[in-house]
Symmetry: C2
Subunit: 440 residues, 2 copies
């Protein structure tokens, strides 16, 4: 009988701020970072499951402490029992009363739970010898429903609703799996659009994105309206009329200023306007959407749990949603969110980038295509060509599409050398940084 | 020129779970705990400011790590400049981009910011030689407005709205201050109502509460509907018809079950039904309130920031609100919430209990009475007779009312002996606990 013998964490940080990679209206100088989680077993055939909780630098040690405090709820568990009831496992971690007080179900503690739960799904998929998307897509609908916490959802999505959606998607699963393996899943790219880039770099990267096969690019906006309009026009000139250009304000505006700003940008025909205001402001998004229709409004990257996603849908506050693999309570809660989106008929464009987010979220989008929504041509996964070299099984992009992973697991295993190099604050990557950066 | 020379933290925990004190439908065995924060200066006349972030045990070390990571944003600051711009200080901590990623403005990181900001207000009030409520109430309206972050609020409350409310309350401030000093502020008590108490203990404590002068008591509900009705009837028999009995479900229900449960309890005429469902579910509260009217619905103790309070008010989701001194981003954000409540004409019944919450929140309620809402007889501060002996300037209750604090500061200073005794895990209070409790 195999047991979980350790929950290990590593604080890894990449000095990305040096190149203004990832700069947006709210985050001028992120150092992409993560808590790298290892769920270690005494089963030599499947010794480890992995996941990452993504942060942007300072405070990664707080996130690490949050993961570590879950150790006592995890170590010693029977692996077979855990993998047999991933829903119960997630509910126990989320529902632990003293830790729940620190949220509830939001922020540092909820992301920590999500990380450990994701590591358990990696373990489960490795046990099954399948990439996670195929493992999920192959589960009977009842097993998927059992993995979901319907607490606070039943006014919008019941277990029966979920079962109906999953059963409807059972037909055609093999065909969609084959399609994914052959053609992959559409991607869009944000690589050209960081606020810190010069006009020349923006235009060159936008042209490159089209040459690489992307059909949608995304630009960061929200710093200065004249700059935004100039950059949008530049991007449009670079990519032509057939490529969609989305914009992302990263929560920069109040409701009133969002409406004014989006109306000004509307002639540039944004494919969507992402995070116009606080991710908490369901009613604000609804007011903005109503005022700027038909410009599509979206949010979700920072939406902290299924209760918030439920309300965004109930209030008709968004035209499309973004999910993030490392913000909510793990695969289970993302399955709930994908089912909510399917019930309300809203497209999901998964958020990615950072470190490990592309690797993880591709599995969720692909499982959604095969087993939940049944649709992918009207959606795309965000893609940023950055830091993939640190993964044992990195994402593969061909002609603007994510190729379907074929290795067992959640694609979350990092390379040993990368972990050593970027360990914070003692790894070689940080050796030449000034003391004030290391002590931040 | 005085400087902040240290941001110190202490992990203090009280073994309250032994007596099932504080037990409710979601939290069966809390060990009331706190991160005790000291903002230390090199000014010998006002050497320290204090605050507490309240938790219920396990995970208090995560909360401690979150406070500590703010140290680099705080230490070295000029004290006079900090105290002169408490709004700017709070915005800098809240807006720090990497730390904001860990929320944004919610959970562990936001409570940490709130704790440090609260310690700065304690320092400011000590500098002024005034209890915090008098310090706030004596600030010019423009200074209060400058302390508030209106980001994401402007569709519901503008700086001009806030100024108008504050200016309206300028007349009569001296009279209300005198009234507070003479009579204190109404309290209600939850001491009789913990779920873990026997019927006999409940009835005896309810009778005692009335004898002590309280006009409102509160019972925990949500475990079992037959038990709830029996306990409500017992309490009613114990206190008579003139005493209000509120109930608190601590987030136990989904929307549908809340409606059924509250309809069943309605004949017992609850003064309000608190936290019927997820604190994140603005639309859920609105649906529940509409379905069970005229039973008053409330929430707020776990509402994580001003954006959520704004929506609860915009959606007419609640009849009354609870604020908590240690959940949101400090005094500044609570002033914003009190102004929002005043603008929407909704009463505030501050949440308290735990450790230090009564001590802190009394100042906010009293400042509200003098300088914002101008009203107190239609509201009350929660009171629980527990752990006050650990404070240098504990709350004083007379005839069911909080007496107005007169010592300078936020009443947040803990006694040295109490800190030593309850240091976790090495303090004497924890000496005889089994190892598995200490390692939790």
């Amino acid at each position: 009988m195999a047991r979980i013998v350790a929950l290990e964490t590593e604080d890894v940080r990449f000095p990305t701020a040096r190149g203004r990679i990832g700069s947006d209206a709210m985050n001028p100088d992120p150092d992409y970072s993560a808590v790298y989680i290892t769920l270690r077993t005494d089963d030599p055939t499947v010794p480890e499951g992995h996941a990452l909780v993504f942060t942007i630098g300072r405070g990664n040690e707080v996130q690490t402490a949050a993961v570590r405090t879950l150790s006592n709820l995890v170590v010693g568990r029977d692996v077979a029992a855990l993998l047999d009831d991933l829903g119960g496992f997630a509910r126990e971690l989320t529902g632990d009363s003293p830790l729940r007080w620190l949220g509830p179900e939001k922020g540092v503690m909820h992301m920590a739970v999500g990380g450990v739960v994701n590591a358990a799904w990696d373990l489960a998929a490795r046990h099954a010898g399948l990439p996670l998307w195929r493992f999920i897509a192959g589960l009977p609908p009842e097993r998927i429903v059992a993995a979901i916490d319907f607490r606070y959802l039943s006014d919008a999505l019941t277990p029966d609703d979920a079962l109906a959606i999953l059963r409807r998607a059972q037909s055609g699963r093999e065909q969609r799996t084959a399609e994914l393996l052959e053609r992959g899943y559409p991607a869009y790219t944000t690589s050209p659009g960081w606020l810190g880039y010069s006009d020349e770099k923006l235009a060159a990267l936008a042209r490159q994105a089209v040459a690489d096969g992307f059909r949608t690019i995304k630009l960061k906006v929200g710093g200065n309206i004249a700059d935004d309009m100039r950059r949008l026009r530049l991007a449009r000139a670079a990519v032509g009329e057939d490529i969609a250009i989305a914009v992302d304000a990263n929560q920069r505006w109040d409701v009133g200023s969002a409406i004014k700003w989006i109306r000004a940008l509307a002639p540039c025909r944004p494919a969507w306007v992402e995070e116009p205001t606080s991710p908490d402001d369901v009613l604000g998004h609804a007011a903005i959407r109503a005022a700027v229709a038909p410009v599509p409004i979206s949010t979700g990257e920072h939406t902290h749990n299924r209760v918030m996603f439920k309300q965004l849908l109930q209030a008709r506050a968004v035209d499309l949603l973004h999910i993030d693999a490392a913000r909510v309570g793990g695969v289970n809660e993302n399955l709930a969110i994908l089912l909510l989106a399917a019930k309300f008929g809203v497209q999901v464009f998964p958020h990615a980038g950072g470190v490990g987010l592309c690797e993880m979220v591709q599995h969720l989008a692909m499982a959604d295509f095969v087993a939940i929504s049944g649709s992918m041509e009207d959606r795309a996964i965000e893609y940023i060509d950055h830091l993939h070299e640190h993964f044992a099984d990195p994402v593969r992009i061909r002609n603007g599409r994510y190729l379907a992973p074929t290795e067992p697991g959640f694609s979350t295993e990092m390379r040993e050398a990368s972990l050593r190099e970027h360990a914070f604050p003692d790894g070689p990557a940080w050796r030449h940084e000034p003391r004030q950066i290391l002590s931040r």
